[in-house]
């Protein structure tokens, strides 16, 4: 009686694709094969999660989409354009936050705009808006060392939103954040995603997190990574976070993913 839809790996959504990964392979110098002929489509305006056993190449794939790493073969298209490097339509949220310790929250959030040469007054007013959006109003003049892990990642998220990219790539954004802060942050993120009509690609190794925040979950196999399964948890939106965590569809999806990933543990 599950409402969760499962697709075979070959499933392709033809309409409204924002990011398209085509036969991407990655072999690191030294011969480590991280990705093997991965093909995936990421629908526009949705949150898609890459989930898999640790060391499976999820982050490698995300960095290839970001243009921070070159693929060994294959190509990535974003909104129909081939990825040759980082681009203005993509923004990255880093696992270790990657905040400038010598810059205030305000400057950190505005930093992407600063690099693009946006005048001070303009970029600071944009940054202030997003600082408010992620719930850090009043912390503009603080330095990162004075903030908790969760607050630092909110700064990282605000910085990614401030450049108004259509695709936000998040590399295990909550992994350095403690469990309780993480739950609150996840709830806040769902709220933000509803307001921002953007495409989110999210890497995590937490099953619950993946099911809780995603429209679509891509299960990757162990290295060299291939797409094992695509799952679309069919949760009614608009119910409270606590209801989601008790919803049968949520529990079924978590269980299904756990069963699929269990084989990789030894």
């Amino acid at each position: 009686m599950t409402a969760t839809v499962v697709h075979a790996p070959g499933f392709q959504r033809s309409l409204g694709t924002m990011v398209s990964v085509r036969s991407v392979s990655k072999v690191y110098p030294g011969g480590v094969e991280a990705l093997n002929e991965i093909s995936l489509d990421f629908p526009k305006g949705q949150l898609t999660t890459l989930l898999g056993p640790s060391g499976c190449g999820k982050t490698t794939l995300l960095k290839i989409i970001a243009g921070l790493l070159p693929a060994t073969s294959g190509e990535v298209m974003v909104d129909g354009m081939r990825v040759e490097g980082p681009g203005p339509e993509r923004a990255f949220v880093f696992q270790d936050f990657a905040l400038l310790p010598w810059a205030t929250v305000l400057r950190n959030v505005a930093f992407g705009l600063e690099l693009r040469g946006v005048p001070v007054a303009e970029r600071e007013s944009i940054a202030e808006h997003y600082i408010g959006q992620v719930g850090l109003k009043g912390f503009e003049k603080h330095y990162p060392h004075a903030l908790s892990g969760g607050m630092r990642q909110r700064v990282g998220l605000a910085r990614a939103l401030a450049v108004k990219a259509e695709v936000v790539l998040m590399d295990e954004p909550f992994s350095a954040v403690d469990e309780q802060t993480r739950r609150k942050f996840q709830e806040d993120m769902l709220e933000l995603i509803k307001n921002e009509q953007k495409t989110f690609i999210f890497v995590t190794h937490s099953i619950e997190e993946a099911v809780y925040v995603s429209n679509r979950i891509i299960l990757l196999s162990r290295r060299p990574s291939r797409v094992m399964r695509i799952i679309e948890p069919d949760m009614p939106r608009g119910i409270t976070p606590d209801q989601i965590r008790r919803h049968p569809a949520y529990l079924d999806a978590v269980e299904m993913i756990w069963q699929a990933l269990k084989q990789y543990l030894d």
Binding site: A91, L100, W102, T104
Partner: protein
């Protein structure tokens, strides 16, 4: 809209004044100085050696030399080659280190030279320098540079090379040009280690200038030390040594102030 608990914002604890004085860093610094000077005074009064004066004797001797002008005259002679040498080493050394940190070929050519320089017993080169430059200012400046440059260059190099990868990646992902990534990320991130190298270089430069004054031409503070030793005026000799140490500490402190003012606003805000 999302809200964050505001409790951490008002975390500045209001404690009573006595407690604040007792836990202030300055209190501990004063305590540390008093402990060292007290131990010195005790050791000098026991006495552990006939040639080891107590702190009070040394202080009085230092005061006397300051009053008769011999101290300031000697200081001027020592400081000039030191400042010239350190300034030259700092500018050239930091520039060379940064360049080698950013360019692999420059690294391969340059780094071995400075590692050899750092390893070489430079006092052995001093006779050679005297032959080349005589016993004047040029030799002293050269000794300061030779002593100071390796630490400055190698630390600047390492600082650049070890700039956090994720910050550089962040700069690239937000479309920073190579110049922007260097200027806005790599250099500020490297500045603490560059300044650590400058402090090491400064300390070595002090060793260099005193070495030159002891080995080449008895002038400046080095002369005060050797002269008072030869006539067994130990309090004055120790006063001269203490002045060198004090001067070195003051230079270090000044360097740290410069660093924090220029590159570390987050430390200023603390």
């Amino acid at each position: 809209m999302i809200s964050v608990p505001t409790s951490s914002r008002a975390s500045a604890a209001r404690t009573n004044p006595l407690r604040r004085v007792m836990t202030h860093t300055i209190t501990f610094r004063i305590l540390s100085v008093i402990t060292v000077l007290g131990a010195w005074e005790y050791a000098g009064r026991r006495p552990i050696s006939a040639s080891f004066p107590s702190f009070s004797e040394t202080f009085a001797a230092g005061w006397e030399m300051a009053a008769d002008g011999s101290l300031s005259a000697a200081l001027m002679i020592t400081i000039v080659p030191l400042v010239i040498g350190i300034t030259m080493s700092a500018i050239a050394g930091v520039a060379a280190g940064i360049y080698m940190g950013l360019d692999r070929r420059a690294e391969w050519v340059g780094v071995p030279v400075f590692i050899v320089m750092q390893a070489a017993p430079l006092a052995a080169l001093i006779p050679l320098l005297v032959l080349a430059y005589g016993v004047g200012l040029a030799t002293k400046v050269t000794v300061v540079c030779i002593m100071a440059v390796p630490a400055i260059v190698l630390n600047s190099f390492k600082a650049i090379r070890h700039a956090p990868v994720s910050l550089v990646e962040m700069g690239e992902s937000f479309l920073g040009s190579r110049e922007q990534v260097i200027g806005k990320i790599i250099l500020p991130a490297a500045s603490p280690v560059i300044f650590a190298g400058l402090r090491l270089g400064l300390a070595s430069g002090f060793i260099g200038v005193i070495l030159a004054e002891l080995l080449i031409s008895p002038t400046g503070i080095g002369d005060l030390i050797t002269y008072h030793q030869s006539i067994a005026e130990y309090p004055k000799m120790f006063a001269a040594i203490a002045v060198v140490i004090l001067l070195s500490v003051l230079f270090m402190e000044a360097l740290e102030r410069i660093e924090i003012t220029l590159f570390r606003p987050e430390k200023r805000a603390q």
